[in-house]
């Protein structure tokens, strides 16, 4: 039954999208995190997805399934934004504090995209479950 593989595939997609949502939340939450040192500023994070052919443990299977895997979480090497705030407790000798370069609009768009993709996977899962349950009732009608 290759239909059972769908649960692996959709599940991997859901967990990947959830991780993407997580990084978006992290980026937005840290948008205003101030640091007195250029190198200590929060770096914007984005996951890099990759498709992995997974051998199924299923007997009578139809080859491999392409599941989604998070390859790495990439940290954008963008320059921090300097602010001149000499009275800030974290300010450095020259009176500067630094904030991360978070593009809030891009993050929001990313969030919507992740949430839509997650919903697609949930829909696939529900439909497949429905089909399987109906198959179990085959010949009973």
């Amino acid at each position: 039954m290759s239909v059972f593989n769908v649960f692996d595939v959709a599940g991997s997609g859901m967990s990947a999208q959830m991780l993407r949502l997580n990084t978006v939340a992290s980026n937005l939450a840290n948008a205003e995190t101030i640091s007195g040192n250029k190198s200590d500023v929060y770096q914007v994070r984005h996951p890099v997805f990759e498709s992995v052919l997974q051998q199924t443990t299923n007997l009578n299977t139809n080859g491999d399934v392409a599941v989604v895997k998070v390859r790495e979480i990439m940290q954008e090497q963008t320059a921090a934004i300097p602010h001149y705030r000499p009275n800030h407790p974290l300010a450095n000798n020259e009176g500067f504090v630094y904030s991360p370069n978070v593009d809030a609009v891009a993050e929001m768009a990313d969030m919507i995209s992740a949430s839509r993709s997650y919903q697609n996977n949930v829909e696939v899962l529900n439909t497949t479950k429905e089909l399987l349950l109906r198959t179990l009732q085959l010949g009973q009608g």
Partner: protein, 131 residues
Amino acid sequence: MPVNFEKAFGIHDDALLLFERRTQLISENIANADTPGYKARDIDFNQTLQNVQNKNGARLKTTHQGHINLQQQKFSDDIRFRQVEQSSADGNTVDSQKEKVAFAENSIRYQTSLNFLTRKISGLKNAFKGE
């Protein structure tokens, strides 16, 4: 008169296997909608049906026990990459909308075959009872 189940069920038991395989492929496409470089795959239902009915698709024969039996991987040689209308910058060829439509269509077809089978089974049951 012996009952020939192969004849009684027609193409629907084979079709069910094909739809099952398609469900898996399309779910892979949907799950990998944001994966860079992923190429969407699908099975052409009509083409495969013709191959199954005519049994004309060139198949590899295993004549030695060391040979890998490709027949086990059903429909694996009927899988094709999707043609894209507009390619994306990251090399991904999944069109989420199209995949959703294909998935919905496939699940309806699956249920149709399932219904046909259920009816045929209940028909056979009635014949056995002879009431």
